[in-house]
Symmetry: C5
Subunit: 354 residues, 5 copies
Amino acid sequence: MELSDIRSQAKRAGESPGSLVYTGRKKNPTQVTVVNYSAEICNEETSDNPNKIIELIDKPGTNWIQVEGFNNLEILSRIQEHYKIHPLTAEDILTGQRAKLEEFDHYIFVTLKTLRWEKKRKKFAINQISIILGNHFVITFSDAPVDIFKKIEEKMKSNPKQRLREQGADYLFYRLIDAIIDQYFIILETLGELIDDTETLIISSPTRGHMRRLYRMKRETLMLRKSIWPMREAVSHLSQLNDKFISQFTRLYLRDVYDHTMQAIDTIETYRDMLSSMLDVYISSLTNRLNEVMKTLTVISTIFIPITFIASLYGMNFINMPELKWQYGYVTTLGAMGLVVIVMLVYFNKKKWF
Amino acid sequence: MELSDIRSQAKRAGESPGSLVYTGRKKNPTQVTVVNYSAEICNEETSDNPNKIIELIDKPGTNWIQVEGFNNLEILSRIQEHYKIHPLTAEDILTGQRAKLEEFDHYIFVTLKTLRWEKKRKKFAINQISIILGNHFVITFSDAPVDIFKKIEEKMKSNPKQRLREQGADYLFYRLIDAIIDQYFIILETLGELIDDTETLIISSPTRGHMRRLYRMKRETLMLRKSIWPMREAVSHLSQLNDKFISQFTRLYLRDVYDHTMQAIDTIETYRDMLSSMLDVYISSLTNRLNEVMKTLTVISTIFIPITFIASLYGMNFINMPELKWQYGYVTTLGAMGLVVIVMLVYFNKKKWF
Amino acid sequence: MELSDIRSQAKRAGESPGSLVYTGRKKNPTQVTVVNYSAEICNEETSDNPNKIIELIDKPGTNWIQVEGFNNLEILSRIQEHYKIHPLTAEDILTGQRAKLEEFDHYIFVTLKTLRWEKKRKKFAINQISIILGNHFVITFSDAPVDIFKKIEEKMKSNPKQRLREQGADYLFYRLIDAIIDQYFIILETLGELIDDTETLIISSPTRGHMRRLYRMKRETLMLRKSIWPMREAVSHLSQLNDKFISQFTRLYLRDVYDHTMQAIDTIETYRDMLSSMLDVYISSLTNRLNEVMKTLTVISTIFIPITFIASLYGMNFINMPELKWQYGYVTTLGAMGLVVIVMLVYFNKKKWF
Amino acid sequence: MELSDIRSQAKRAGESPGSLVYTGRKKNPTQVTVVNYSAEICNEETSDNPNKIIELIDKPGTNWIQVEGFNNLEILSRIQEHYKIHPLTAEDILTGQRAKLEEFDHYIFVTLKTLRWEKKRKKFAINQISIILGNHFVITFSDAPVDIFKKIEEKMKSNPKQRLREQGADYLFYRLIDAIIDQYFIILETLGELIDDTETLIISSPTRGHMRRLYRMKRETLMLRKSIWPMREAVSHLSQLNDKFISQFTRLYLRDVYDHTMQAIDTIETYRDMLSSMLDVYISSLTNRLNEVMKTLTVISTIFIPITFIASLYGMNFINMPELKWQYGYVTTLGAMGLVVIVMLVYFNKKKWF
Amino acid sequence: MELSDIRSQAKRAGESPGSLVYTGRKKNPTQVTVVNYSAEICNEETSDNPNKIIELIDKPGTNWIQVEGFNNLEILSRIQEHYKIHPLTAEDILTGQRAKLEEFDHYIFVTLKTLRWEKKRKKFAINQISIILGNHFVITFSDAPVDIFKKIEEKMKSNPKQRLREQGADYLFYRLIDAIIDQYFIILETLGELIDDTETLIISSPTRGHMRRLYRMKRETLMLRKSIWPMREAVSHLSQLNDKFISQFTRLYLRDVYDHTMQAIDTIETYRDMLSSMLDVYISSLTNRLNEVMKTLTVISTIFIPITFIASLYGMNFINMPELKWQYGYVTTLGAMGLVVIVMLVYFNKKKWF
């Protein structure tokens, strides 16, 4: 199970609230990349020197400050100071959180889970990403480089004539959140195909391994669910946010993000139900199989046990056993045995055991 | 499982929001049919030429623009431009969505799932239909021809003296949605009859195939549920819509659509509960059967095992076995065996194993 | 399962909304009975002639128009016209509906399910009753005669000094709804007694038939539930209705109807839970019984199999078997067998298998 | 199951609403006790004479009128008349109801369930108590004497310097309700201890009787739940009641009653969950036991069946069986049998069947 | 099960509400520690003398009054009097309660459950802590010393330059509640690790002990759930509290406490689901194992029973059995037996029983 959030919260227990303590396990060095852009320009600069960072971030146009890795707390505290980030926001960025959205006087803070399917481990990895939206700037925090952010950056650089460059920080903010939600659909597709495959197998010939597979899929679904449910709440606040940060233009887009989240949740709930149904199929087919095994045993036993008894009977060594001396004793006995077998077969046939 | 929506969403991941990309798998060419009607006239024209389409759509009276097939994106973008359709609406039309209703300044957008029972595959197919209602026009989008739309069109042409011709675009809008919901009742009837049949079979003599049937019905019910639940929300908004588009007359009808949706949902939930109960019956009857099999085996075994032992006993070849030489040794032994059998039968009778 | 509502809705699919089409299966001819009453008078007249009906219904005092049977659509359309009943109301009366309440400008429309226990079929029958309350008139629609309405009519005639005569149409309206809800308690009592009986049987000695009985009761409970849940919503609106139709006096009574509905719902939910618990008892007792059967088999087998082996051993015909020639070979062998039996019995006793 | 409420409702079906009909089964004669109290005085008088009762109840100070037993409807109708009690309130007092609270112009009516553990029957008995709070009077109705009311009366008489005497009717009203809720905790304690005991037994050595015990506890929990859930709603209204009857001082106390109800509900829900878990333990341990039994049988069978076959083999009477005449035939055979046994034991050991 | 709350409520039944009666079982003597602090000073004094206590508590700056142990009711009543604590608050402090928050005119009262993992008993202990926040004072009540309070006190003393000293009573109030919630994460981490371990074991090789472990974990999860759910409600009120006691500065922090509570609840619900899934795995693997055992028995039996019958057949002592005298009778019989074995093996192989 994905315990990292609980662990990082447990480790913080006893610390003063709002103090800068990183409780995660990732060892990535802290690096800050600043993308300064507008319809005309788009420059990127990177640094891991706490003293140089402030110089980078206050340029005209919109600034996208990407903070990766949480090991250099000095850099983080510089940024916190410069943008007057509330200590609790700083704490939330560094500790495992459920998805949430908070509105402060001079910025909006949102923290979300992003997912990545790990082919080797056959499970998905969960990462936490925090985003701060202010006037003319967006700051993103993650404890490792984020693929989907890189892609958006590339798109941004590729062409000045696009909404991403023409619109302000709020539209970038929307695009980042949208990209995170879109990740869920990729995971859901993978999971959906896995469920489809397993379904076919379980219905035709269930084996022990399928149970484990079912269990693992259920666990992954539970984890997905735990990540996305709080997201719903956070995202539903998005479209009701203060006008200060979100333009009328972007607001419509944020409403769309909510719809996507709901679609993902609907799908997860349907997966859960399907996995339960598949478990029922699995268990009933186990019992079915047990029935079949027992029928085989019972048929063989009830046919042979009585005739073996007859054979044993005439294997007794009593001196005075008249049947033994009869001319047709043996043949009669064989006939009697045959009769027993036929009676039994008729009985089983009637009970539809074949 | 019906994964198409998730797949089309996953494919879009990374695309700019609002860009015209069709991610479905249907290969139908795009065709536009415009029905221009009023109480007096009702003309229909069809075209697949992007340049001609705009000429068709701006005539006096009410226009019903039916767009079928999403492969010619040029046509779609012309229509989008002409009616000033928001890019997100365009995206929603082309990508798999959960049912939703959105109100824009100059139109109402609704997207719903329509169902069709496919006799051959013994499951129903789900299609997405989007409808835009503006002043004096209704645009419908689907990636394949829609039977129920054709039927409404025929009815419209058949007789000028009917509400469908006398009322405006909002009443047509209502009729289309009403027809989609009505489809659900046809599916529910089919499913309900299947459940009724299976119920009778499972109670009288459950077989392995019934489990699979139960499972398939449950899966279909889950899919139905996933399609219709979001519909409820969308439809409940219908009767609270802005006066700009919906007349007082039509509003009453839209309230009725909501009642029908609730009736369908109630029925689906009842089906789910019934299928669960039937599963319980099935599993308990499996265990019952196992019990019966085991009882047969046990009765036969416990009757014959002891008397076979007695027979084996006197089959031993010890020189000094006085019983063997007794005059009535054999008869006594037979008597003893008979006694064992009677005792056993009495015991089983008492336990009510017969 | 009670599919009639879904069937009647499915049959309507494609029809114009609000058109008068009866999709039920009952073949009762249409008959209209009008009770014209006030504190002073109370007259009843019956007719099945469309032309005569209008004459009957517009008299001073309060009119209770009872319409039974839906096969003469002409009569229905006359009434519809005369009272300006909305086409959708007319459709709702003729098609299977979930319980609902709708307020129109000049009347209140309510449709409810009424139940009747059918002793022979050992299930209850569900009927739909629609009631329209206007100024000084109540119209009731049903596709078959309704016992409880007859009883209220008799009471009305019996004595002029009662609230039913002194109060207006709204009080009659309340009395009719109250009588319908009261039917549920009679069904619930019957069902509750059945559950009580089955409970005692299942705990003492469950048989296969009990499972079927459990299943049937569960199904009936599900049907009850489906009928009554939407009723709750409809009835809760009753006490918030417009002052135009409901007097302050009657309002208090309608609040009471809601309480009764809630009581019925609570009881149904408790029944559901009890039936689930009884299923658990049933299944666990099946497994228990299997255990018992298997123990019997195992005890008999493990006692006799080893000693039968010993007997078989000395039944071998080897020439050189010294034990066979010993004086006390036989006795020793019997002793050894006895020892085996005792060891086994001690073992089983320790395991508490007896 | 506790069917009395449903039965009394079913019996009323057809009666005019608000008519005084007692449908319970208790035969207690009606008796009225009036306690007239203030900070200074506290007098009690009892009567079962309808004509004398009105004299007792209208004295200065606060009057607590205790009505016990519902068989003398004349007394009840006198009280109803005197206090202008609404006919529906009178009906609710006499018929089995779910807990509810209703506000009328000149009084507040509350009906609740009280519980009493019956040691002999090992279940609790449910009684209905109705309380009417007016200006300067409280009327309590019950169909049998109520222990907890007697205790409050004694406390009231014992000492004039207590809130119960100093505060008015509203505080007495609170104290009565509080005492009823407190009863639930006593029942919950008893039930909790029963669950604790059963838990220990089921984990160590489950027997068939435990299943029945589990079932009974579940049923009692369901009954408790059915009694207390509607209470929550009623009690939550208490603290929002009209100022006319409830002083600011008492309001705080009524808030506390709600907290207690919620605590009882939480506990009942936890019991339900625990009983479900215990059922799982029970059923899994049944299967475990079956496994154990089957293993014993299988081990014994698979060891002895092959060697018994070998013994039977050399018990055959063919003339030409060379092994029989070998010098060491017997010993070799015994050795072969020993080998088979060892192989089997090793196999079972590997499978961890011991 | 943790019955203490219900027990203490049951014991109170019959007592006057608001009377000072301690119904817990802890025997700790009452001790009061007062920490008087501000940005400049921080003094601590302890006493168990009722007469001295009032002197300690009314000093300038903020006072944190820690009351430990409830056996000296005189001390408690002195404090109650001095701070004008409502009798019901006093009762709530002394009796087992579900978490709640109540606002009074001159103070805020909150009662919460704190958890502590007890390594020896392998379960966690639940304690009740009550906190009163007034102007410039915080009073904490517990029936035993509380570790986390001691830690906060130490931190407070360690350094005057920290928010804890600079901010007023409301910030201390927040810190205490925050510390209590943080305890849950420590418990959840421990429980999460236990679940992880058990999961691995159950999937690879389930034993009987695992069922008990599963059950115990489920019970603990239920207890956790019962403690934390009401906390959610109480904590959600925190951020909506009256401005009188909570500054704008602290309000933001209290919002954070709510997020943590929700995170803990999410985790508990996920644990519950995981434990259910693990139970399914366990039960299905039991049935799987039974299947395996039965297959072994059936294979051995069906192979040996028929050939043993053949052997018995030729062990019969009939005089006239021609086969016995044939030259190759024995060899032919052996061959026939071999054939039976091969047929059986082929059959089992086809059924995939190996």
